[in-house]
Subunit: 121 residues, 2 copies
DNA sequence: TACAATCATGCAAAATTTTGAATATTCAAG
DNA sequence: CTTGAATATTCAAAATTTTGCATGATTGTA
């Protein structure tokens, strides 16, 4: 069976990336794996909404997950994804003719996150 | 005025790439600039449809155009776009777990294209 | 001016995506 | 086996995108 769906699959990848919240999630995961509650706290969005975006990323194969007790940690499925995101930022800047600014991604522990990593202190 | 729309702009770029026909157009233009009639012939799509996809790419800043008489030649607005597309193909393959195949892009002149380059023979 | 060729735009129906809210699932602890 | 915490799923309304088709605009030429 000969298929020719290369452009369809490539388009699906870019479609998964065509959403600001999903891009921010991927940027967070590019630095370190994170559980859903951590992502929820960083993004300031409701948990079901974050889970939905994670489901989209999971179905596209961009992220992988790992359960630890009741927490589920997500990570990038492929390190090359971080490069693709960097290239995307650079080109978006070029096409827009100005420096784009991104919200700061807090590093380390979060007050409003219940996961063990953040409550360790 | 402080903006934080980096992810919005990045998402707009990926959105412009999230379409198989637009991806194929960009792959054609990555090799050489081409007029609308040439793209129409290669893609086997109707001319207004091709013009619409070109308009989407133009509004996103991904392509530039140049008029020569009644013909309009399109080209990539930035060479780094070709690299991004290559990375996208590589990752789409990785995420899909198999070799993706793409329709062959004819090189050289086309029988069914009326532009001077193709009618030179 | 008229005509032909090339390309762009406008518009509406169909399809898809996004978003919010309610509810379901899974796991650990008691 | 019940409860609480973390996460996932479902569903429908709203918003956006896609697609096909008709028409408009621009250029070159007679």
């Amino acid at each position: 069976m000969v298929r020719n769906d290369g452009y369809d699959k490539e388009a699906q990848l870019f479609q998964a990336l065509a959403h600001p919240v999903r891009l921010q999630i991927l940027d967070i995961l590019a630095r370190q794996e994170a559980c859903v509650c951590h992502l929820t706290a960083v993004l300031g969005q409701r948990q079901p909404y974050v889970s939905q975006q994670l489901a989209a990323l999971r179905q596209a194969g961009l992220v992988a997950d790992r359960r630890e007790g009741t927490l589920i940690y997500y990570r990038l499925a492929d390190d090359r994804l971080a490069e693709l995101l960097d290239q995307g930022k650079a080109l978006a800047q070029a096409f827009h003719g100005r420096i784009l600014t991104f919200p700061p991604l807090p590093v380390g522990v979060l007050d409003n996150c219940p996961c063990p990593r953040c409550q360790a202190a």
